[in-house]
Structures are given as C-alpha cells and as structure tokens.
C-alpha cells in the first residue's frame, strides 16, 4: 500500500488543487454549520471540524435526483434517461463513520440482485478521502459499537491520519492511488505507522459511549409485538430529522412533476418517520401511528439490514442523537431492547 506524509498546512491546498481538475466535495463552514459542499479551486474547505452537520450521503444519494425526463409529442411520449451521469469527483475529508456508511449503502444499491445505476455511477466516479478522528469525539459518538473505529478506513479510498505535525496519507484502493500525485512525494516510514497505531488505539479508547448493537438482533427477531414499542415514540414529533441526518438511511420516494408537455421523474428522500410514508391510495395506513414507525426504524437498522446484508445499518455517528428535537436517543432504545 502506498503511504505518504504531507505537511498539515498543505491539506487545503491539495483539496483546492484537485478542485481545479475535478469536482471536489469538502466540508465548508456555513454560519454555525459545517456542511459537505462542492468547492471551486478558490473554495475554503474547513477541516478543523468534529463532524459535518449533515451526512455526506447526498454525494451518492442526493436529496433530489432526476431519474428521467419526458415530453409529450404529437407522436406520443418521448423519454430520456438521466442515469449514468456522474462527474469525476472527490469526496474530501469525510469522517471514518461516514466512509463506513458508503460501504453499507453499497450493500443495498450495488448488489448482485439489483444495481442502482444512479448511485453506482456516482460511487464509481468518486474517490473517498477519509480523515481519521484523532481529537476527542462528540459524547454521542458510538462507532466502535457498530463495527467502526475512529481511525478506520472502511469505505474510504484514501485515509488521512493526523499524526502530529503531518498527515499520514494511506492509499487504500487503486482508485485512491490514482490521486497520489496530489499528495507530494514524501514517503511515509515505519515510525509514521507506529505513531498512527498509537493514535488509533487512543482514539478508540476515547469513544466511551457503547451500545449492545449486536446483541439486540436475536431479541428483535422475536419481539415484534412486544409492548415495549409503546414506550419509545411518545414524544416523537414525526419529523424526519433523524432519518435525514442519518448517513445510512436511504428510503426514497419517486414522483413525477409535469408542466405542460414536459415532465420529469424525481427520486427524493423520504422518511419512515413521516405518516405519509406507508399510506396507501385507499387511505389505509399499515403503520398508523408513530409506534409502528419507530419500530420500523429500529428494526431496519438492527435486524432487517442484518438479515439481508449481514451488517448493522448504523455507523454510530450520533447525528440522530444530537439533532432530535425531543431528545430521543437511539442508544437508549438499543440499550432498552437488549434488556427485553
């Protein structure tokens, strides 16, 4: 594996240089929020952040995406696909938990049975550069409980680790190696590796929040009707904040928008928290209350995804914990389930 060392203060420069050659997504400070956005070569990436407000999943799975266009012509309807349209791009500076989420999303969108052309095209054309978490994390971080680690490279093509004065850049995949030219030519030595290992161990230790994520699967298997589900949704507002913030939530809705003879078919995020999510044309709603919706969210993350893909659909970023307007804490929910 190719490894190089880069000076800390050159990082923004590297991102900007790349932005001159291709599309670069990087953390940007906007008022009180740090968000992932595309930057130009004169952009101001902001790397001194704990984690971005929103999850970077929108790079591959945008909030709203045109699937196809159609026009009514005298000869009938004419269609044109919007699939396979993706720019060469770099996602620069995501945290390992978020990089991990891409690996989880791949299991769904890029599987043997079904390949989502829109997602796959973007994923293939995008190089993910992760930045390890070496600073004290948020109190709500719990990546280590869900198969992640603060200095982990799952889902990333390049991993950058702050090892003091320098960043250790590890080119994990061949896609990553193709961008090596941007990272100077200072080869990393064994000392850097050792330093990284030390930092990684410390960082792992610093994640104090732990949940019995693996333990709840067999419990969930047999407790669909447990009265426990009546207890968690009481204060839930049925807003979609947790799901919109979540790096692994991936439910979507498809709608057509038509004006005159022209129309487009859109895919946009949806949320299992919304009452309309499962509402049927007849007016019947199989998940009539927030109880069923909350059960669905918990089941999906910790049981169904495990059933289907042998992985928990949670990366422990803690965004849902921080953003929930009524302080519902998924960690507490999992904890409680484990005691059933």
């Amino acid at each position: 594996m190719e490894k190089r060392l880069i000076k800390k203060d050159t990082l923004a420069g590297i991102a900007k240089k790349m932005a001159g050659d291709m599309m670069v997504w990087a953390p940007v400070k906007k008022e009180d929020n740090v968000l992932f956005e595309t930057i130009g070569k004169d952009g101001e990436p902001f790397f001194a952040y704990l984690n971005s407000k929103n999850a970077p999943k929108n790079v591959f799975f945008p909030h709203t995406e045109t699937l196809m266009k159609f026009t009514r012509t005298p000869k009938g309807m004419a269609f044109s696909s919007e699939a396979n349209k993706a720019n060469q791009s770099v996602l620069f500076g995501v945290r390992p938990c978020d990089a991990h989420s891409f690996a989880l999303l791949d299991k769904l969108f890029d599987q043997e049975k079904y390949q989502d052309a829109y997602y796959v095209a973007k994923r293939q054309n995008t190089t993910v550069i992760a930045m390890a978490c070496v600073k004290p994390p948020y109190a709500s971080c719990f990546c280590t409980s869900v198969d992640g680690e603060p200095v982990g490279s799952e889902g990333a093509d390049i991993l950058l680790t702050d090892i003091g004065g320098d960043y250790l850049a590890e080119f994990i995949t061949s896609k990553g190696e193709k961008l090596a030219q941007y990272f100077g030519d200072a080869k990393a030595d064994a000392a850097a590796d050792a330093k990284k290992a030390e930092i990684a161990a410390k960082a792992k230790e610093a994640i104090q929040s732990r949940i019995p994520a693996h333990e709840v699967k067999p419990i969930l298997d047999v407790n669909f009707d447990n009265p426990f589900w009546n207890t968690i949704h009481g204060k839930c507002l049925a807003c979609g904040t947790c799901t919109y913030m979540c790096p692994t939530c991936h439910c979507f809705d498809i709608s057509d928008e038509v004006k005159g003879a022209d129309g487009i078919r859109l895919r946009s995020w949806d949320s299992c928290m919304f009452p309309l999510f499962t509402k049927e044309t007849s007016g019947h709603n199989p998940r009539p209350s927030q109880k069923e919706r909350w059960r669905q969210r918990a089941m999906h993350k910790f049981k169904y995804y495990v059933d289907n893909f042998n992985a928990i659909a949670c990366v422990g970023c803690g965004r849902c914990v921080m953003s929930c307007p009524v302080n519902i804490d998924i960690r507490k929910v999992v904890e409680d389930i484990s005691k059933l």
């Binding site: 929020n33 704990l50 709203t64 948020y138 807003c239």
Partner: protein, 273 residues
Amino acid sequence: MHDLITAHKNSQKRVKPEDRKKKVIGVVARGCTTRSLIIHLQERQYERDEVCIIGVPCDGYVDGKGLKVKIGGADIVEGSIDGGQIKMKTSDGDKTVALKDVLADSCLTCRFNNPIISDIMIGSPAPAMNPDAEYNDVKEFEAKTMEERWAYFTKEMEKCMRCNACRQACPSCYCPTCFVEQSQPQWVGIGEDKSDTQVFQFMRLYHMVGRCVDCGSCVSVCPMGVDLRKFLKKIDKDCWEMFGNRAGSGMEDMPPLGKYDEHHDKQDFIYNP
C-alpha cells in the same frame, strides 16, 4: 400541543355517538401554551371543558443552539441551572453561562409570559419581559432593500432540508393533511428544488397569520438553524397592525382571516385602475 388534538380525536374515533364521553386532559401551560390552547379552542379542536389548564408563569426558555455557540461549540455532557446561571460539564471543560444571555429570542420579547387562561394557577406571576422590542428585528429588516431581503430569504431557505421538524413541532400546524402532502393537485414538489422549498416555507409561514404564538418551537427544533422567526414576527406584526389581532390573546376573538372589518381594515391593497 398536537398530543391534545390527537388525544381528543382518538377519544372520539370509532365510538358510537351516544357512547362518546368527554375526556378531560390536564395541560401544564406557559403563556404561549395558553395562546395555542386558545387558538385550538377558536378552531374548535376540542371544547373548553375538555382541557384542565394548569397555568405556570414563565421566565423564558433556553435556546439550545445559542447556548452551544456561546460555549464555543463544545459538546455539553451535563448541565444544571443554579440561580441565574447554567452550569455545564462540556467536552471543553466546565462552563458557566448567565441564563438571561441564552434565552430564546421569542422569550426575550415575550408579551404573554403569564398564562392568559387557566383553571389552576401555580406560582406567582413572572416579571415582564421586553415586549416593546418585539418587532425591532422586523423593522430593521423592513428597512432593507427588496433585493437584500430576497437574498436573505433565499439564503435561509437554502439551509432547509425539508425534514418537516418545524411543521411537526408547531402547535398551530395540525392540519390532518398538510398542503405539502396533498396531491390532486400537488401544490409543491417534494424535492429539494429551491423554489419548492421556498414555496413550502412561505406557505407554512403564511398559514400562521393570526395563528403564530411565538413559542419558538420551530426555531428550536430546526436542525439546520433556519431563521424562521424573522418571517413569523412579520406576520404577527402585520396581523396586529392591520387587524388589531394578536394570535390567541383572547378567547372572544375570531380567527382574523375568517372575518373583516369594513370600517377599520386598510383598503390600500385594493387595486383601482
């Protein structure tokens, strides 16, 4: 506040008319909560004798996002209120902040921090806040140019990710089917198109004419920190200046958009060629 309406509706659902019983729900209500209750009563969501209002005076509410900024973005692990101070254990060490510095904007200029209606009152009346300043922000914004105002509106709306938290938290947003979710016709696209988001927010805000009680819920729940109050206060100001109505400030009022006053309503919006 939605729980009240939901509880009321559920208690009446699938019950034979003769078996319907009034179900009295106790509500611990601050001033702004009582305003919401009044709006619900005006809008006939339940009857007055179906709620027992336990009024509590209110000294204000802490603005969580403001607090976080105040302590430099550190992660708050634990906190407690002691006198006029908030004491916190944070990821950046122990911090103390004066309560009055981190009260929500809506609380600082609150006009109704004591309950308007109640069945039982608890505590002694809270001291007045600073209602005279309530429209300062709006006046300042009104003085800006059209393009400056549009720029601000678009910038704020760009933050919105359509999670609907504002709507879900709003005590006046209780429509069984929100206009956003209506089809046939579909009023607004569900995607992230700029105009759709703007129209969604604009219409939700506009539906607050005579109905926003300035409780600050929408602002406090917004994960992206959209400055909704800047716009809501304008609606409140217009409603007061044009129709002499303050949302939910009296049981005897009618919803201001459900009537008009031939003699006092301004006519200047009417076009005469």
